[in-house]
């Protein structure tokens, strides 16, 4: 049983850490981590960051070298997650393209699709979004209603997607649409690679409760895609959409590491905020709560590594990832809520208080999205109950 890294792995880490120190936006490491206000400025900021990473050789770690990736090992990919989380690096606008679209095209796309799209995903020239959820299809993804009707060599697409991350910035969309009515609802679906820069596609950003705009609604009004834009087979798109799940091996890392960093920050916060001249961290009640959160956070963090170990040896992820996702996101929400509550108990000098309080309020509000996206907590419990414990599936219509 070992939690240490090899000498080669540590030198990879140091190389990345040093690169980050030299290439993060100005002031980032000093805690000035503000994203620009408007969407146009944000897009420029995100694209710049991707380009820097690309030029530094840090893009496409998980992709094979034959397709322009770095062919990095799983542990190196994990280290990348650890180091970028450690400095709260800016988000990657190309994340969906790199972790979802490119691997899918490499494994089950056509050669033409690979040559056309993969290099531009890597370079950042084309940003991708994933058109899955709809207003009436969230957890029940197979019930999607966006229609793609065959019309000669083309397909005409009508419908609406929602919660589509980075759709405001995207040139392409990996779209799940219905091409026919099958015996079961997940039959008759097809995946299309859709050009977002066509007249029939409109994007409306959505503002979420923390004030940010990371996703949007996408309206398809007689948009078109061609036969060559189909991934896999017609009517067999469900399998394509699900294909990606076998790649999510380090996906849990960001949740676990963010939890660990947040815990350290809460402890620091309790030391910073004062009541009657003493830090809150000296209060016995606060200490009990901190120690409880510490034990729970440590457990969540360790569990990710234990699961990661098993994934490395099994060669593919299993339903155990649901345990990590459920646990870390729910705990983060609670922990952030506790941190915000500390501002009611203690205070700090005016120069630092406002920014500190806003930072924690933002984190807390943002955390509400994590228990909903990538499979709600309720869906995760179903997965744990059914696929790990063997309990019977829900009753369905």
């Amino acid at each position: 049983m070992d939690l240490s890294y090899s000498a080669e792995e540590e030198s990879f880490r140091l190389r990345l850490r040093s690169w980050l120190e030299n290439n993060l936006p100005d002031g980032w490491l000093d805690g000035r981590r503000k994203l620009p206000e408007g969407l146009t400025e944000q897009e420029k900021f995100y694209r710049d960051w991707h380009l820097r990473l690309y030029e530094g050789g840090w893009i496409g770690l998980s992709l094979p070298q034959a397709y322009g990736g770095q062919g990095a090992s799983l542990v190196q990919q994990l280290i990348y997650e650890e180091e970028t989380a450690r400095v709260e690096a800016p988000p990657l606008i190309s994340a969906i393209g790199l972790t979802n679209i490119a691997p899918t095209l490499i494994h089950i796309g056509t050669e033409e699709q690979r040559k056309t799209y993969v290099p531009k995903i890597l370079s950042g020239e084309e940003v991708w979004c994933q058109g899955y959820s709809e207003p009436n299809s969230g957890s029940d993804l197979a019930s999607v209603q966006t229609r793609a009707v065959k019309d000669g060599d083309q397909y005409t697409i009508n419908g609406q997607k929602t919660w589509t991350s980075y759709s405001m910035f995207s040139q392409r969309c990996f779209l799940l649409a219905r091409t026919s009515r099958g015996e079961k609802k997940h039959h008759g679906l097809t995946v299309f690679l859709v050009d977002m820069n066509q007249p029939g596609v409109e994007v409306r950003p959505i503002r979420h409760i923390d004030g940010g705009q990371k996703f949007g609604e996408v309206f398809f009004d007689n948009a078109v895609a061609s036969q060559a834009d189909i991934v896999g087979e017609v009517d067999k798109g469900w399998d394509v959409a699900m294909f990606l799940l076998r790649f999510e091996r380090v996906a849990g890392a960001q949740f676990a590491i963010r939890l660990k960093n947040m815990m350290s920050d809460v402890i620091q916060l309790a030391g910073t905020l004062q009541k009657r001249g003493r830090p809150l961290a000296e209060d016995p009640v606060v200490r009990q709560r901190l120690a409880d959160y510490y034990a729970r956070s440590l457990g969540g963090y360790l569990n990710f590594y234990r699961n990661f170990t098993n994934i490395m040896h099994a060669g593919k992820p299993g339903p155990e990832g649901s345990i990590d996702k459920l646990y870390t996101t729910e705990l983060e929400k609670e922990l952030c809520g506790y941190a915000v509550g500390l501002f009611a108990e203690g205070s700090a000098p005016p120069e630092t208080l406002r920014e500190l309080e806003e930072k924690w309020q933002h984190r807390w509000l943002y955390s509400f999205g994590s228990t909903i996206k990538a499979g709600t907590s309720e869906i995760q419990r179903n997965i744990i109950g059914e696929r790990i414990l063997g309990l019977p599936k829900d009753m369905k219509a």
Partner: protein, 381 residues
């Protein structure tokens, strides 16, 4: 290389231990024990010793297997699954660790082989309501006499105190400034052990009274005053208790899941209803988090990490509260029969509650964690 799981040998140890305990009747030994039939427990203890499991931490020269501390995990888990009513933690872990950490070479040579061959069954006469040795109250006094010491006082809540044939005793020196640790034979004149009322009948406590018990100089562990090594032994026992609790939790989750599949109401197995399904899922999640903490606690003890105390206390506080929650939900899921003594569910609940106190309460453990936290080194592994 990141490899956070049991080694192959440890996994094999786990399956061998499971087979052994199943062959000896599984949880039936605990049920027999609570009904006053102690033969099953003795048989279990002897078979365990025959296979070398009592000597896992004892050096080979003293008849042991000399395994790394993490090897305790699989064994402790399997013992927890069956609620094995034997003083494994007190003897194989605590007793061995105290001797290894502070015993003289003569004492090690005399007593470690007796741990390894199962002839020693220990009770711990120290204040185990505290996770830190420095916070312990010491009700036993020791007076120096010509060729040894005289011990007087009473110790409550000595787990398996009536089954023990020897005690590790913490005592304060009367009239002097100092604390000492003794290993005392139960046969010594003046020792009485009486049962205390204990919730967990699979691990009953005794009040052990020392009425001017004369012990020789060789009973003073380490041959000198002081408690060095006692904290390490207590942390080791608490880490082992965490694995033991995880074993119990795992069994309880299996029990609940099995019942949810076979019990039908309103035309469906009750596990189909999300209220039940989700509750068992939450139980499973907590078990796995507890398992990760228990593994890391054992690793911290093994590697003698500076932060071992913080890690062990984090694990113990989480595990004991999780165990109680899980055992409580299990009774609820079983409905009426979960509320009867005919079913095993209550045994796990009572064990869980006892574990909340044994080796220090969750609140005390968290106090210890908080004392060792600051913004700089939180969550560094």
């Amino acid at each position: 290389m990141v490899d956070f799981r049991l080694s192959e040998e440890e996994q094999m140890l786990q399956s061998s231990a499971r087979k052994l305990f199943e062959s000896l009747g599984g949880i039936q030994a605990a049920r027999d024990y609570t009904a006053g039939k102690e033969e099953s427990a003795s048989l279990l203890w002897n078979r365990l010793a025959e296979l070398g499991y009592a000597g896992i931490l004892v050096p080979e020269d003293d008849g042991g297997m000399d395994l790394e501390f993490t090897s305790v995990i699989p064994l402790a888990e399997e013992l927890g699954r069956t609620l094995a009513p034997i003083p494994f933690m007190e003897t194989v872990v605590f007793g061995a660790m105290v001797l290894l950490k502070r015993g003289t070479s003569g004492q090690k040579a005399a007593w470690l082989p007796k741990i390894a061959d199962g002839s020693l069954r220990l009770g711990v006469c120290a204040d185990l309501s505290e996770p830190s040795v420095s916070d312990m109250t010491v009700p036993i006094a020791a007076e120096r006499r010509d060729s040894g010491f005289v011990l007087s006082g009473e110790m409550d809540y000595v787990r398996y105190g009536k089954d023990a044939n020897a005690y590790v005793v913490a005592a304060d020196l009367a009239g002097e400034h100092g604390r000492a640790i003794f290993l005392v034979d139960r046969q010594a004149a003046g020792i009485h052990a009486a049962s205390c009322h204990t919730l967990d009948q699979t691990g009953p406590s005794a009040k052990v009274c020392f009425e001017r018990v004369h012990v020789g100089d060789d009973a003073l562990i380490g041959g000198q005053l002081g408690t060095d090594g006692l904290q390490d032994a207590l942390d080791a026992m608490n880490a082992a208790l965490c694995a033991n609790m995880v074993g119990g939790m795992s069994k309880v989750v299996e029990m609940a899941a099995e019942y949810a599949q076979i019990r039908h109401q309103f035309g469906h197995p009750i596990g189909r209803y999300q209220a039940i399904k989700h509750r068992i899922a939450d139980m499973k999640v907590e078990t796995e988090i507890a398992r990760s903490l228990a593994y890391y606690a054992a690793l911290a003890v093994q590697e003698q990490l500076g932060e071992a105390g913080r890690i062990v206390s984090s694990a113990k506080s989480y595990c004991s509260e999780a165990y109680e929650r899980i055992a409580s939900h299990n009774i609820q899921i079983h409905g009426g029969i979960g509320f009867t003594t005919e079913h095993d569910a209550h045994l796990f609940l009572k064990r869980a509650k006892e574990m909340e106190r044994y080796g220090g309460s969750a609140v005390q453990h968290r106090k210890r964690v908080a004392d060792q936290l600051d913004g700089r080194h939180a969550l560094k592994i």
